[in-house]
């Protein structure tokens, strides 16, 4: 756990730079985190996915699965991969300030 400043706000992050408290997230933070993931700018398509992920995140801030995103937001899996290349589940979670998709170990 550590603290870092993103878009003028001090937030708690884990070793891999995921926000550990999803309530600290702002849209400005999303823009900066996206840049770090090589996504710039965030288009309407990106926001549709990010907003959906924030809306459906579990109580513990768990990011929705790709299937939940595609069936709920109307964005196809192919589109999701072109919007967030190489591991969309992880990238969506990071940019949306949610927990990384994890196994139990």
């Amino acid at each position: 756990m550590s603290i870092r400043e993103i878009a003028g706000k001090t937030v708690d992050v884990n070793e891999e730079g995921f926000l550990t408290d999803s309530s600290q997230w702002t849209k400005e933070i999303a823009v900066e985190l996206a840049k770090e993931e090589g996504i710039d700018p965030l288009t309407e398509g990106h926001w549709k996915v990010i907003d959906f992920a924030r809306l459906t995140a579990g109580n513990g801030g768990a990011s929705p699965t790709l299937r939940a995103i595609t069936s709920g937001s109307g964005v196809s899996t192919k589109e999701l991969f072109s919007l967030f290349p190489k591991g969309p589940a992880k990238k969506v979670a990071k940019i949306a300030g949610l927990g990384k998709p994890e196994g139990c170990v």
């Binding site: 884990n14 070793e15 579990g58 109580n59 513990g60 768990a62 699965t65 790709l66 299937r67 939940a68 069936s71 709920g72 899996t77 192919k78 999701l80 991969f81 290349p85 190489k86 591991g87 969309p88 589940a89 992880k90 990384k100 998709p101 994890e102 196994g103 139990c104 170990v105």
Partner: protein, 410 residues
């Protein structure tokens, strides 16, 4: 008489039926269970079948044998849950009324959801081990395998027992080494997660386990389709992995009837309060075991502690008291790592697996997050405990909530 109906009597449902039979006043409460399948499967044993390490006859028993005599058992599939009217419609045309409904209809694999999997090569070069029959079929394929590439692919999470794919690969490593074929067998793990181990402390402690066994991990692999003729799997970002034998862990979904009845999410898992298992939608429906959307592993080891805490809480609830948010997601499970060794994990919703000793702090006999012979014996002896203790509604002398005693925080 007031009525409790339990839908599905696999691991969770059988435990609930036995616990409620004990705690509820049976002069006031009628308990009925419904299941379409008369056979109870010990699913934790499937992992051993492909390697000839388990006699499959021991993994199946009649369900009725584990349901108390005073509980009525109906064998039928379920047509619809009419939750607003407290009714369950069965395929045999009968209708059950209930005061409280407990859904424990589990999860199952759906290879047909991924193009190419459940077609003409299913059961030939494409297998699974997540059902009784598929684990038996895979045994022959493993026995006949003379060399080449075996790819284990998880289609999407959540899946039942997230460590089983890794156990399969480690047991395969040991099996082919013993057979003198290991230098001719390539083992690949293609996972949609960012790695085999995603929790930082486990990654640090046992993250090199697959590496040491020369098992190659292909992370962030999200399968779009299998090409059964070209024998390759293709991801959404157009990566291709060829195979000689594909061991698929297909998409896991809850029962269709959950979706059809408007009680499920996009995968037919039913949303609940993760501490009490009360349905988000109806205050007289509880969902236990794999059928719920609780953010934890789909495994009997989770259902075990959850059900231990559930029955008393449920009883109080029926007496008009508030539900206590008691379940913390506590689970412990063994990971078979081959050569007669295993690793034990102990964790909950908040706390990732840590090293230490279990269940007696400092002593064990089990070691957490490290390999040992006794962990393997723990897994083997669990089969007896499953049938004779858990499925009889008896409790193991272990605390149902997680303890930090005996764990070594980093």
């Amino acid at each position: 008489m007031k009525k409790i109906v339990i839908l599905g009597v696999g691991t969770a449902g059988t435990m609930v039926a036995n616990h409620l039979n004990k705690v509820m006043d049976r002069n006031q409460w009628d308990i009925t269970v419904v299941d379409q399948d008369p056979v109870h499967y010990y699913q934790a044993g499937y992992i051993f079948v492909p390697f000839g390490l388990a006699n499959e006859k021991r993994l199946v028993k009649p369900k009725i044998k584990y349901i108390p005599d005073s509980v009525k058992m109906i064998q039928s599939s379920i047509e619809l849950i009419d939750a607003p009217n407290n009714k369950v419609h069965l395929a045999n045309k009968s209708v059950l009324d209930y005061d409280y409904l407990i859904i424990s209809t589990g999860a199952d694999i759906h290879p047909e959801e991924t193009p190419g999997l459940a077609e003409h090569e299913w059961g030939k070069s494409i297998h699974s081990f997540y059902t009784f029959q598929s684990s038996v079929d895979l045994r022959q394929a493993i026995k006949d395998f003379q060399g080449g590439r075996i790819v284990v692919n998880v289609v999407e999470n959540p899946i039942k027992c997230p460590v089983a794919p890794m156990e399969f690969l480690m047991l395969a490593d040991a099996y082919f080494t013993k057979k003198g074929l290991r230098d001719r067998v390539e083992l690949i793990y293609a996972t949609p997660l960012s790695g085999a181990f995603t929790k930082p402390i486990a990654a640090k402690r046992i993250g090199d386990m697959l590496d040491r066994k020369n098992i190659i991990v292909e992370p962030d692999f999200y399968i779009e389709r299998a090409d059964p003729d070209a024998k390759k799997i293709v991801s959404y970002d157009e990566r291709e992995i060829g195979y000689d034998l594909l061991v698929s862990i297909p998409l896991n979904k809850g029962a269709d009837v959950i979706g059809k009845s408007g009680l499920g999410d996009e995968l037919n898992f039913s949303p609940v309060n993760e501490h009490t298992f009360l349905s988000d939608k109806f205050d007289n429906i509880f969902v236990l075991g794999d059928a719920s959307n609780a953010p934890t592993s789909k495994a009997g080891s989770v259902a075990h502690y959850a059900v231990d805490l559930f029955s008393e809480n449920f009883k109080h609830y029926t007496e008009g008291k508030a539900l206590e948010e008691t379940f913390d997601g506590h689970t412990n499970c063994f990971i078979e790592s081959g050569y007669g060794k295993g690793v034990l994990l102990d964790f909950n919703y908040e706390q990732e697996p840590l090293p230490g000793r279990f269940p007696i702090p400092g002593i064990g006999p089990f070691s957490l997050l490290q390999e040992s012979f006794i962990n393997h014996w723990g897994k083997l002896s669990f089969e007896w405990m499953y049938w004779n203790i858990l499925m009889r509604g008896l409790k193991l002398p272990l605390a149902p909530t997680m303890s930090m005693a005996g764990k070594w925080p980093e």
